[in-house]
Amino acid sequence: MGATLSRDGDVDLSVPLGPLRLRNPVMPASGCFGPELAPLVPLHQLGALVTKTVFTAPRSGNAAPRLTDIGPGALNSVGIPSPGLDAFRARVLPAYAAHGTPVIVSIGALAVHDYFVIAEGLRAASFAAFEVNVSCPNLERGGVSIGADPHQVHRVTRGVVDRAGDRPVIVKLTPNVASVEEAAHAAEEAGAAALTVANTFVGLAVDLRRRRPVLGNGTGGLSGSGIKPLVLRLVWEASRAVAIPVIGCGGIATTADVAEFLIAGATAVQVGTATFSRPDTMRRMIDELPAQLSELGCRRVTDLIGSLRP
């Protein structure tokens, strides 16, 4: 993937992500994107595409209701329904691959060994990178406990890296920990090429009249612009703790948000919840980024990365 200059030719939007070079730093967050968006989003212009997390076996997901919102935050407990590995290879992945944009395959599991089964099972498939989801808060078990334990993060990362061949392995960390640095270190030491910081924050919405959780699964994961300051802090801390690139993910809704995350230390960003209300969010960001860079006195996206002043 060569460097791509923006339309006016004087601003370089491209960013390095391990061995990959993305045409720009804007990509969707796993689970908040699908090829169904092709009529509304120019998929060929995005920095990368990220699949919904795939599991070895089919999963039906959690009980309804799966979604609610509280002001600028969305709480979900979808529970990652998945068609399973075979259907993913046969039906899902080809739909992502058809747009000339690097595809990052998000993989998930409830047990450590299953991550290796998936990585192995995808060996022959064609895609750019793995994103290892060790951080979904809505699974029966595993997600949070794996991501919250640096030893498990190390084990899972090393095992996937060993089976990934030349493909870079990105590890998506959970924010539901006391120290994001420890998990970041563990993933880096195990051979991760990059980190995604972070996933949703565990939360609870209460139905006042019924005195029950609003969501069918009880708790859910909070996303949306309400969590932006929390994630900016995590990105800032994680990016200073490791030498590998960090992809910021959480509450990014505007071009200014993209710039803030880059300044805080992110090399690229993932956009999730914002796409629901405004499907053209990522396109706008890519269109507006050159002007945003100029306004900040930069000619390259890379000039902004980690430029937060003390």
């Binding site: 689970g31 908040c32 994107f33 699908g34 090829p35 169904e36 968006l37 009529p39 509304l40 919904k52 076996a57 089919p58 999963r59 039906s60 997901g61 959690n62 009980a63 309804a64 209701p65 799966r66 979604l67 609610t68 919102d69 509280i70 002001g71 600028p72 935050g73 969305a74 979900n76 979808v78 329904p81 399973g84 996303s223 949306g224 612009s225 309400g226 809704a253 505007t254 919840t273 914002a274 796409t275 629901f276 209300s277 405004r278 499907p279 053209d280 969010t281």
Partner: protein, 272 residues
């Protein structure tokens, strides 16, 4: 009660668009209900009865609500390029919707979902709606009555002012039955008795319903009694409206297979 996806579509759905549509009007109508008219020719030309829109109630990307609100298309003026949405003010999101003034731009995505599909040869339709669910049936009422079919609209609400769509159906010259909680006419037993009495001699060949689990159960029962096709428009919380977020699975959680998504496979389903 089982709901099933409709058979594969013919013709194929129009591709949805995302617009910043000018608000033409946004006014309180009655009780908790408001009428919103958007200037959205790209949607007005292709939308079919039973399809829905996602309305973004936040003014800027940093504001709430974080999720768009799925809304049925109440009516459409294809010549003027406008779509009407009748919404109930229930919480934060719909309260935000009331703040939009004529001339403001509202982000809208649509048309989305599968429309009602009355079987070929349908001549008599019975539409049974309650509360805000009536809004999923009004465009169907217009199109079918203007197509020369005989339409009966059963409209249920908490009290007289909470029955929506009565004026609309009256303007179409439909046969209307109004049901209210405050005079107990909406009681399911009475409704069963009333509809059986009215329609047993010449039953409808298509029944569409929305807005009430009790009326859905009754619709299913009447559909069996009359051997007619029954379709329901299902309501759900949604995020993407296109199927990729999987936020709106319709039914029971199976062990391996996800139940149909309301947004992509529905919102209109066949009732069995």
């Amino acid at each position: 009660m089982t709901i099933q996806p409709l058979a594969p579509e013919t013709p194929a759905r129009v591709v949805p668009v995302c617009l910043d549509a000018p608000v033409v009007r946004n006014q309180h109508v009655a009780d908790r209900y408001w009428m919103l008219r958007l200037d959205a020719p790209e949607i007005a030309t292709g939308v079919r009865a039973g399809q829905f829109l996602l309305l973004t109630a936040s003014r800027t990307p940093a504001d709430g609500p974080a999720l768009p609100r799925p809304m049925a298309v109440y009516d459409v003026d294809r010549a003027c390029g406008t779509v009407d949405v009748l919404y109930g003010v229930m919480g934060y999101g719909t309260t935000q919707l009331t703040t939009f003034r004529p001339g403001d731009l509202m982000t809208v995505v649509g048309p989305l979902g599968r429309p009602f599909e009355p079987p070929a040869g349908t001549t008599r339709l019975l539409l049974i709606g309650r509360g805000i669910g009536i809004c999923s049936l009004t465009l169907l009422a217009r199109e079918q009555s203007e197509g020369g079919r005989e339409v009966t609209a059963v409209l249920s609400g908490r009290h007289r002012r909470a029955i929506i769509g009565a004026d609309f159906c009256e303007s179409l010259g439909l046969d209307i039955v109004q049901l209210r909680d405050d005079d107990e006419s909406s009681d399911v037993g009475s409704v069963r008795h009333l509809l059986a009495g009215r329609h047993d001699p010449s039953p409808p060949d298509f029944l569409a319903t929305c807005g009430s689990a009790r009326l859905l159960a009754l619709s299913r029962e009447l559909g069996r009694r009359w051997r007619c096709e029954v379709q329901v428009s299902v309501e759900a919380h949604m995020a993407c409206g296109l199927g990729y977020c999987h936020g709106c699975a319709a039914g029971e959680v199976g062990r391996h297979e996800e139940s149909p998504l309301v947004c992509a496979t529905g919102p209109v389903f066949r009732v069995r």
